[in-house]
Symmetry: C3
Subunit: 591 residues, 3 copies
Amino acid sequence: MWLTQAHPEVLPRDERGDVVWPGARQHWRATSPVFREHALRLCRAMTEHYRGHPAIVSWHVGNEYGCHNRFDYSDDAMHAFQDWCRERYGTIDAVNEAWGTSFWSQRLTDFGQILPPRFIGEGNFPNPGRLLDFKRFSSDMLKRFYCAERDVLAEITPDIPITTNFMISANQSALDYDDWAREVDFVSNDHYFTPGAQHIDELAYSGSLVGGFARRRPWFLMEQSTSAVNWRGVNPRKQPGELIRDSLLHTAMGADAICYFQWRQSRAGAEKFHSAMLPAAGEDSRIFYDVCELGADLRALAQAGVLGSRLRRSSVAIVYDVQSQWASEHPTTPSRDVREWTEPLDWFVAFAEHDVTTDVTPVHTTWDDYGTIVIPCVYLFDEDVADRLRKHVRGGVRAIVTYYSAIADMNDRLFLGGWPGLIGDVVGVRVEEHCPLTSMYPGALDHLDLSNGACAHDLADVVTSVDDDTQVLATFTAPPTSGTDGLPALTAHRYGDGTAAYVVAGKLGADGIARSLPCLFDALGLPLADDDAAGDVLRVVREHEDGAVFEFLFNRRDHDVAVPDIDGDVIIMSHATRTTLAPTGAIVVRR
Amino acid sequence: MWLTQAHPEVLPRDERGDVVWPGARQHWRATSPVFREHALRLCRAMTEHYRGHPAIVSWHVGNEYGCHNRFDYSDDAMHAFQDWCRERYGTIDAVNEAWGTSFWSQRLTDFGQILPPRFIGEGNFPNPGRLLDFKRFSSDMLKRFYCAERDVLAEITPDIPITTNFMISANQSALDYDDWAREVDFVSNDHYFTPGAQHIDELAYSGSLVGGFARRRPWFLMEQSTSAVNWRGVNPRKQPGELIRDSLLHTAMGADAICYFQWRQSRAGAEKFHSAMLPAAGEDSRIFYDVCELGADLRALAQAGVLGSRLRRSSVAIVYDVQSQWASEHPTTPSRDVREWTEPLDWFVAFAEHDVTTDVTPVHTTWDDYGTIVIPCVYLFDEDVADRLRKHVRGGVRAIVTYYSAIADMNDRLFLGGWPGLIGDVVGVRVEEHCPLTSMYPGALDHLDLSNGACAHDLADVVTSVDDDTQVLATFTAPPTSGTDGLPALTAHRYGDGTAAYVVAGKLGADGIARSLPCLFDALGLPLADDDAAGDVLRVVREHEDGAVFEFLFNRRDHDVAVPDIDGDVIIMSHATRTTLAPTGAIVVRR
Amino acid sequence: MWLTQAHPEVLPRDERGDVVWPGARQHWRATSPVFREHALRLCRAMTEHYRGHPAIVSWHVGNEYGCHNRFDYSDDAMHAFQDWCRERYGTIDAVNEAWGTSFWSQRLTDFGQILPPRFIGEGNFPNPGRLLDFKRFSSDMLKRFYCAERDVLAEITPDIPITTNFMISANQSALDYDDWAREVDFVSNDHYFTPGAQHIDELAYSGSLVGGFARRRPWFLMEQSTSAVNWRGVNPRKQPGELIRDSLLHTAMGADAICYFQWRQSRAGAEKFHSAMLPAAGEDSRIFYDVCELGADLRALAQAGVLGSRLRRSSVAIVYDVQSQWASEHPTTPSRDVREWTEPLDWFVAFAEHDVTTDVTPVHTTWDDYGTIVIPCVYLFDEDVADRLRKHVRGGVRAIVTYYSAIADMNDRLFLGGWPGLIGDVVGVRVEEHCPLTSMYPGALDHLDLSNGACAHDLADVVTSVDDDTQVLATFTAPPTSGTDGLPALTAHRYGDGTAAYVVAGKLGADGIARSLPCLFDALGLPLADDDAAGDVLRVVREHEDGAVFEFLFNRRDHDVAVPDIDGDVIIMSHATRTTLAPTGAIVVRR
């Protein structure tokens, strides 16, 4: 408070130019030289004070960068954005070309005319290229700030590894964590459970994605909750058993440390209703007993040698691209109901229903060693990604590409000539138009049935031609007036030694994808578990360099399920027997 | 961008006083002398440059005035609003009288105290008279700006006709187009289709309204989309056939030119997902083929002589008043669910169900030559309108007046003594109270059934007395506690040589009106087609001074319908045979 | 308008710092020295002008303080808030301790760092202690302003009693009226009916609460509507009979004067659609006839001697605490669906269903003479309240305490060790966790059934232990995975000579409470009317010091109900006979 009183110029401004006042947290702009000076002085003083202290095993710098100050529209930010654009584009003409400023008379003649995307009036629409770049810039400025703090620490205590807690879950996209992950000594994450039916799947998905950013090396779970959080509109508690099960599942997905926000529940302040290891109710409480039990479980796992082991690579990769999500958030798209993040999770869940635990994999990392690559609504494409996909498929890999992929280049400029752009030769289909589906207008088309029993909502493609050697696996069934009846919904196309399936059908949801996977896999020439019990148990395997293998089994249902044959020594058996897993049950086996 | 950088004082301010920053479009205030100077210099330079160029057949000035800068609350606007009030009212006492400033201590002692309706805090309520005048003022300022640009052009190229594209559709009310229409050499309009069931009816309605503003002279369709737009939350595409059908229907309604936004779909920018004549998919596309086919159709129509012909006048006029809509948008009315624009469209559709294509007619134009005049929620009335209605009905014309008509004078001050004000003698009913209907409060009255099977929602009148010679055509059926059971819902009243029906029943919707029209027309002594197939085909006739008659037939259903007997030479037969019209079918006949 | 033109510094600022412009009403900040100077000058001039005028029987000062200017975030407000904190806490360390500023680095080193809770960015969370204090401060500043005006009047006309109109209804919590009531010579209230099913009960509840603030002395009904208001989104009219019935019910609840906003409906201005004693329709109208009839009824009541009589004290008190409501409005609680105000009303209605008209009683007044005290979601507790409850129950009184009571101290800091805090010994249960219920997340727990047939929504407690002598009256029935199946839902606990019931079950609604009251009362050892007709009639009794008793009977249903035996002289019989009450019927008897 004293700093913001002495230096109000460190406070962020919102898009209207209004001061974001102190009284909560993160009341600072990443581009403020004044704040930076004070912050680095603090870093230096603290590090020098604690240098050599035996309890310091790692520095965790800052907290959830960008949680509240992701975007800043101040003049500091404006100048920094101008510099960032100069750095990226070199000339103002290159900016004009990238952002398509000829449209709507937005041509810039000077870097000084570049503004953050400040308030343009209700119902007006921002330039997509500028908006996408501002998201990149905002991630970069926070990263630069983190790096400056990190460098002070590293200078004084060069042997202490450094991290900062990311906020990775299925519906988060604040920062470009695949980029940030290059700047930490090890990845750490904050994860808060999704209440209800998606609890376990979303948690596993997020863990897989964290592992993707960490390049499959072990990571830390820095924050989670023992029970309810406080920041949702309604904050359901965790049901009994979930506290332990969730931590074991994070471990299964690659976590080598399980921490919580927070040790002791705060009596006061904005988060006083957030659960903790030691709750407001005190030590005599279910939560504290479970925390103690978890401690024993984690000790057992550590003693069994799980630390340092790595998640076994899946045969299937689901590609994730935060920048595609950023671009698809623009208000003037075919449908605001299409947001990129739902599709990767839906594919992850659909595969789990067939007993396949997939790897969620950042778009810009290597895809080597996967037999199947899923491209779910990867809206932005460049030649590099297209070439890699082409090369992999040509070499025998199977690809599944969905609607709303390869729509635009890295500056959010549409590919011309039909979609998917750049990779039409791979998938062997040509999309002329999007077909948004909505119940917003009485009488408008609000869904499309597929011949395989699945159903598309929100968005589908209109495929008006396919290559001669493209196989149509399923078609749409719709009123003749819609112009979609009988059009391709799922296709497969031989390309080199591999096959690329194209999922025209739009948003099928996890159920619709699960229903479609058998025919897709059949066309890809791959086997797939397809009985009703296939998805009962989530299996995850961690492997140690020393040869030890740890198999984790979890119940994906809300009823008891049968345990598959266990091969190895049981280390943990929580809410389970050798034959039955209770709903929150978990088994860990070592062999 | 250079101009807003050099002269930020041209940027509008929103109601909170916040700058509306550039980065989208229309970043200028209509009252800025600086912007005006630059804009007129541009007009002059451009006109002098192109003067005499043979390709210039007309000037289309600006683009969609007021689309994004309709309201400006800057100090420039404040001063201009003070001048506008001084011009309109003469004295500050006249302003006080007009706005009823005695209420809530708003008495003004100086024109300098007049403010635009800036932010007054959440949950507070603005003065209705001031708000209505600010809407008039905002339309006037944009018109004054347009006229200044126009005058520069007219001075240099006096023989080139001038227009600007209006934004007229059923749910638009940005500007007073009946006033603007006096300032263009010919009217032109931008129209974007309503997805779903109202597609064809709303389009025909809008065309009829454009014709009303154009005083039934031919007009230009300046913009429409070949398929999806980009600015809705969800943007359904046009179904096959609608591209051609819509253009033929605009032609039928009076358009002599069919243009599109846009020729070539933009790769970049805020509207890149907006369809175009040449779509992103390229020339090998359904859209481009349809555009070419439409070109041939339009050539055939031109060769057949349709240009310059006028829409045949209907026997029924539906009165439209944008200022009534403006006034009824005020937050403190009987029900915010009542907005004027839905009612004229509902009447248009209901008549179409009985094979009557009506003329939508501005309130301040002549109503001569109509046999029936519908007054649907014309909330504002003055003596002139009342006198005209009285004179017409007395002379034999039939009138249908609905609930929420003649509620207030032109300054939005209530008529006293019972509603409808000024014309109670004509309709022969007296309304004491409004009866809002809502499901917002459990147990509150949320609808009223009529004895004729129709049903009222949102708002009804409480008619506590009718004249002795008023005929009650239908009554309400409701719980006795509501105090509305048995009250009049539809009435008719002989007045002079005519009859005036009063539709008490509130918002009946198009279905309820269609169901009520037979008994209304019976009471009015008029015939009405009333079989199930009467509304299958929309018929529109254009007549040329040389005697040529063009009849257009369209299918209003989503299934095939029978074609009525064709009398004349078929010029266009699209998705149709001589006996059957497909859902998007159209036939044009010349005789 | 001239004042805000001459002194714009009197205008409030909203939380963003934006000026709240004039053009509606209450355009002033309570802490402005400039406005205060002008306002007091006006008070003085007016009072001196009218001093001695025989028509002045009372001063009604201002109008609905805080209706639109409750919160002001200007620099004037900031300085006053700093002074208020200095006054309340003495040292900045005491502020830090009260607000828990250690959390989120909010430690203050100087009173000058204290800000009003200005805009902190979307999705960030304010400090609860500061927010609660700002609500107290805002109530205090308006009260201070009122008192200053009052004191001018009292100085000049010391014999004229002074009041100001409060805004008390079930869903209002703008000011701390129990505190304000100490500053008026008699309480007066503005009450506007709730349309639909809650109309009569909410009105009676509000009247009872007004009586609580007035310490059961008679009060004035300063404003109500004859029919519709204008400020809701939809404004249903009053149904026939409600105008008179409502006024009689206000009288029954303790009103000695029945006034209306407004005498004559305004033609113009923001409230022109607000009903009045003389409506826009004129004197020949149902409303005006009813007003006249009401006048006769009120005269009859006055002549019968009802003035000055007091509401007979109920055996049951329902405790009300506006500050608990203020605290529970904070965005980061277990569930934003829990707001304190619904619970007292639900209990009032549930008791009415069993023929008990309860007293709604402020938490900080005496609870003497009640046999039963209900503590419904009284979220804030201090030692004083806990001691009083303990003392009463120990002495034989029955208490019913609900979920979400005694959660935090007066600075909104949680009680530790299990809830309810401070009074766990009285109720004999210990709550470890809240159990929010929601349909927001598919598959999450959205309700809990009780073994007695009631059902909890929104929030329940998780009671993990009860004292040995605690009796479990009902349990939850829920899926085993939820961890709530079989847990206590209703309990009773002997404490001294009394019994305290604890309603774990969360929000049961009026129906669920009504269904649970029989078993609760049975456990409390109290009788309760429990037949289907028990709730048909609302009975209220006023008693005069001279021994006269006035019994008021109202129909709580929307159909005719039977009148209980009448004992005494019938003074009013409106929409009723001696045997039947019509839905809006009322009977007043004197004995």
